[in-house]
């Protein structure tokens, strides 16, 4: 199972997610945003960080990187894509998931563990959790408030594409959405950081079932 983690200018969680995936048994390659061609991959990861300084809008400029054109093509062809935090913002800007991420409602950068409900286990990413399971993952973001149109929200709910909800909403996201799937169910955008909760030394391993489950599903 070959995973590729894309580094953009300003990505800073790329190494963490590569280490976490490797610890779960994946073969991981580090890729550069400027490369318009990508190797054969089973999983593409868009990591967290502050690409382009969050200039213009978070993820707006990174969404137009040469690598992202290919990521969008691969996602349409069914390749699994995981976008974490800034990676989720990049995905939304690239149209891989509906809606947008805007400033946290309280205007503060929130950096703490949050309780999440696994709202759906009907996905590659959440099949290793129990339905309705409560987990704890850290968030670290200033612009994590998820918004979308009422039509998009209805579609997300009807199609069971909301996979994580905040139990204590830290940013004002509509419907407490912390993570959701793209229309093909192969793309996950998630604001909390599963890669920061995949090793007992970081205080929680609640992110491990996401990563390990995903790798096993793709093997």
């Amino acid at each position: 199972m070959r995973a590729g983690v894309i580094t953009f200018p300003g990505s800073n969680c790329d190494r963490d997610v590569a280490v976490a995936l490797a610890a779960c048994g994946a073969r991981v390659e580090r890729l550069w945003h400027g490369d318009s061609e990508l190797p054969a991959l089973d999983l593409i990861v868009l990591p967290g960080g502050f690409t382009y300084g969050d200039y213009l809008r978070c993820g707006a400029i990174a969404a137009h990187s040469p690598a992202m054109r290919e990521v969008v093509r691969r996602a349409a062809a069914g390749v699994a894509v995981l976008g974490i935090c800034n990676g989720f913002q990049i995905m939304a800007e690239a149209g891989l998931v509906p809606g947008a991420l805007i400033s946290n409602a309280a205007l503060k950068f929130v950096c703490r563990p949050v309780a999440l409900e696994v709202a759906s286990t009907n996905s590659l990413f959440t099949a290793a959790y129990r339905p309705g399971q409560t987990i704890e993952l850290p968030v670290a973001h200033h612009d994590g408030c998820y918004v979308c149109t009422p039509d998009d929200l209805k579609r997300l709910e009807d199609e069971d594409r909301i996979v994580f909800r905040y139990l204590d909403n830290p940013n004002g996201s509509i419907a407490d959405i912390a993570g959701l799937l793209g229309p093909g169910r192969n793309v996950l955008g998630i604001m909390p950081h599963p890669e920061r909760a995949a090793d007992p030394r970081t205080g929680s391993t609640d992110g491990e079932p996401l990563l390990r489950g995903l790798i096993e599903a793709l093997n």
């Binding site: 137009h64 809606g99 309280a106």
Partner: protein, 80 residues
């Protein structure tokens, strides 16, 4: 040719920065200030000589990068 693009949050999209500005104005003693919303001004110097063509190109820039149509609207002013 110069283009000025005003990017604004759509009506109904939460604008906590605007709300913070409104509060700060209140704290400074400015009464009678209602809702405040903050937008962006992007100014571009363009090589186009035809204003209609310049506007069309800037509209394309807005649709593809300068504004996020999910949450923002924009207006374009072309100045010679």
């Amino acid at each position: 040719m110069r283009a000025r693009v005003h990017v604004r949050l759509k009506e109904g999209v939460l604008d906590p920065q605007g709300a913070a500005i409104a509060r700060a104005l209140g704290q400074l003693g400015f009464g009678g200030v209602g809702e405040v919303r903050q937008g962006k001004l992007i100014e571009l110097q363009l090589d186009d000589s035809d204003p209609a063509q310049a506007e069309a190109r800037v509209r394309d820039m807005c649709e593809r990068l300068l504004a996020n149509p999910v949450i923002e609207t924009y207006t374009i002013t072309i100045e010679q």
